[in-house]
Symmetry: C2
Subunit: 313 residues, 2 copies
């Protein structure tokens, strides 16, 4: 169930030539405020603006010659769409992208900019899956899942491999959790590369399937997905949940205003553009400051694709 360390190591070597080794930022001001040492892994600076590039590249690089010819298809609320489009173009593979009709414009335009072929669907998981299935049937394209596929999870793990390589003594790494692919990958990397390090997640109250699943021990579904953290409106899956269940220490819930405040705080203090989903783990640390007192915490900033015309502040 838990892949071996050699699999993560192989993914790391495989994706390396195609992704940025993103910087890790720190701020004395923020550290003094939180009373902890925070290390922000800036996947908002990743190619196409999010960690998703890692999983997409790792998955496409493992296709056969035959499969590459048929292309790839995915459905995504945004960043995985861009990731598949850019990774596919980089590796000269056709990319069919199903996007929900309510996805932010900036994300649709980026997918088109990377040469992705977009099909719009209703903004439900069922509609998205149906549209992707249809394309698969028509073209023979290989389906890539944004979060519930081992190649994608292992690709995602490489961000934390980098983080722990440069900062081996972290006490914890905290990520956002939406579909579960980043959290599972992070937990694997922490498991094999950490040194007394634990994996945590932040999640919005308004899309708390991971929190409830973590506590009930089986996959629970989202009842609402109204959160501003648009990357986290998705659902845990059967491939990533067993890893999360086994390797994650805790999931911390945050309110919508806490996400917005955390986002604004990081924009102002770190001078970086992050999307709302990225602010969720930081908001969780801010909310539970006393728990992280004097600890060294890695915070995975998952992406920076946000429409500047629709900022919440």
């Amino acid at each position: 169930m838990i892949p071996a360390k050699t699999e993560i190591e192989a993914a790391y070597q495989r994706v390396k030539p195609f992704v940025h080794r993103t910087p890790v930022l720190t701020s004395n001001l923020v550290n003094r405020h939180i009373n902890a040492e925070l290390f922000f892994k800036c996947e908002n600076f990743q190619k196409m603006g999010a960690f998703k590039m890692r999983g997409a590249v790792n998955a496409i690089l493992q296709l056969s010659e035959e499969e590459r010819k048929a292309g790839v298809v995915t459905h995504s609320s945004g960043n995985f769409a861009q990731a598949v489009a850019l990774a596919a173009r980089t590796l000269e593979v056709k990319a069919y992208i199903v996007m929900p009709s309510n996805a932010p414009d900036v994300k649709k335009q980026a997918v088109m900019g990377y040469g992705g072929i977009i099909t719009e669907s209703a903004p439900t998981l069922a509609a998205r899956e149906k549209a992707a299935d249809h394309i698969k049937g028509e073209t023979g394209a290989v389906f890539l899942h944004p979060s519930n596929q081992m190649e994608v999870i292992l690709g995602n793990a490489t961000a934390t491999v980098e983080l722990l390589e440069s900062h081996p003594d972290l006490d914890a790494v905290i990520t956002p959790v939406g579909g579960g692919g980043l959290l599972a990958g992070t937990a694997l990397a922490v498991h094999y590369y950490g040194n007394g390090c634990s994996t945590l997640a932040g999640e919005p109250f308004d899309a708390d399937d991971a929190y409830r699943s973590f506590h009930s021990g089986r996959i629970e579904t989202n009842k609402v997905t109204n959160t501003i953290a648009d990357g986290l409106r998705t659902q845990l899956g059967s491939v990533n949940f067993p890893i999360i269940k086994e390797l994650v220490s805790d999931i911390l819930l945050v309110e919508e205003d806490e996400i917005v405040n955390g986002m604004r705080y990081l924009w102002e203090r770190l001078k970086i553009v992050i999307e709302p989903s990225s602010a969720v783990p930081f908001a969780a640390v801010l909310k539970h400051k006393e728990r992280f007192r004097n600890k060294k915490i890695g915070i995975l900033l998952s992406g920076g694709n946000v429409s500047l015309s629709q900022l919440p502040f």
Copy 2:
């Protein structure tokens, strides 16, 4: 008139322990768009959020024990105020800061946060100077000029020393020009550390004293200073202008909408928060793309202190 290389080297060693070596960001997407290789020196990630920290630290470190006891005083539209406050606190010196009444709130709060003692003045150069003189008379504090003082200019130069250390083959470095202290420092660094490298500046049409001075050969004054680039509303000085006249290749003017577009473009593509002044040199490169074709250009992003409640987009 032109200080020796040893003076820049000394400033570099002097400020090193007290400033961040800021990262240099690049973007394939941006490079493809411009048809040039751009290297963004991110002084928006500098302590207190702007390059001004360098000049303030360099100046304060050269005060006598006696002078340190009396403290320092300056007037500034914003970033130099924060820089002096933070540098002074770091070096355990009192800082009196004269700020124009129309300075952005976020900057006033930051100065107070760093322990600076603020006096407000009318938003004219004359009123600011008078208020600073008064404080100097009362307290014996040493006056630090935001841009027209050699210690400050030499401190500013260290950003470009770092840039050229990591990227020695740049064809040009371009900075914003307001008071002239950054441009003069940059020109000195390029002169001594560059390799066939030239120094350029971007300036708003709406505060074009440097452009006109550069062409007339003597210091001209601003007729208007309505530009959104609030850090560039200041005036060239007698210490920096001779350096600029001798070592700068050209000054390129940009319109207000070009500044806003350039700022937005960099926020979206680089995922970083920069203030309007920082966007001016990039806006100039964007406007004169053909001139920079296939060149390697260093762009000095001077700061990231912007009020998120008052964005121009």
